[in-house]
Symmetry: C2
Subunit: 189 residues, 2 copies
């Protein structure tokens, strides 16, 4: 297959930075940061987790989360992801954290949420889903740093309301999350 | 000029919703929500505003704000926009509001900020810039609903810290902002 699509780096007319442009059709692919929306969703003290069926991090555990789509709010996106990945119906609560990943141009929103029933089922992006007691969370098999951070920020804010969302935790300033591994100790924000 | 670029609506292989695809090169233009980052920046009680030199809303007043770029945080983006549009150097403070505009697939972040000096100068996207006493803000000549909302949420949170960011104000649920006009009364969140 020959190379195609926007692939030439140039500054388009009227712009002030390089973008990817298609040399065949002149289409400019503006790349802007992506929003990921997810939740720490609880049923009687147990936390909803999904084991990933897709790369990256296939086989590891994640909170239900994914890319925000057009024509939805961040809250609607977080609820949609819980439904798509875990068959769960959730009610979104407080915004626990906004995590900045400038190295990969992503901003992650994680909400506190409540499952409206314990009925869950693995979606096509999940190998299995489960409701975990806090002590049984597979801490050493979590897929992404922001999953760990959101769980820690959920735990630190139990019983609280009206708080500002957490940011990246101490020790993980924006851009440093590539150094993360699930077995490292850390202090939540 | 003939039509070019991604313009055919179809569901790409492995996807579950329609995207815009280029019939010449098969490039899929994934369109995801865009983040706008801005600030309510203060110098000795006066608020920094910019009169827009570009469409939409050329000639009307806005807070310094714009699309978040790759490889920056929302805070860095808000500071960059104040510098680009108003020549201002600002220190970012609390997150005042996160406004959801699903109709146009945008999420707007507005921060409280402090000018580090009163030196400001119109950037290329501004006709003029100014520092306004609260009573002198051109309320009936504001460019966008989220500018009004951020100013109202700034005012409602004076002297406060550790608050959750405001959402869309009462009376403007997500999707309804097209009905906004600067002369309508409203209640902040």
């Amino acid at each position: 297959m020959t190379e195609s699509g926007p692939r030439v780096r140039m500054v388009p007319p009227g712009d002030d930075r390089e973008r990817l442009v298609c040399p065949e059709c002149q289409y400019v692919a503006y790349r802007n940061p992506l929003i990921v929306v997810g939740s720490v969703a609880e049923w009687q003290g147990r936390i909803l987790l999904c084991r990933r069926a897709i790369e990256p991090c296939r086989g590891l555990w994640t909170l239900p989360a994914g890319f925000m789509e057009e024509n939805e709010t961040t809250l609607e996106g977080a609820a949609r992801e819980a439904h798509e990945e875990a068959g769960a119906t959730i009610e979104i609560g407080a915004l626990l954290g906004i995590y900045q990943l400038p190295r990969i141009s992503q901003v992650h929103f994680f909400y506190r949420a409540r499952l409206l029933s314990p009925e869950i089922a693995a979606g096509i992006e999940s190998l299995e889903v489960g409701l975990f007691e806090w002590a049984d969370i597979p801490w050493l098999k979590l897929a992404f740093p922001t999953v760990r951070w959101a769980l820690a920020d959920f735990d630190a804010r139990r019983g609280q309301s009206d708080f500002p969302p957490a940011g990246n935790p101490a020790g993980y300033p924006p851009g440093s999350e590539a150094n993360w591994s699930p077995d490292q100790p850390f202090t939540p924000d």
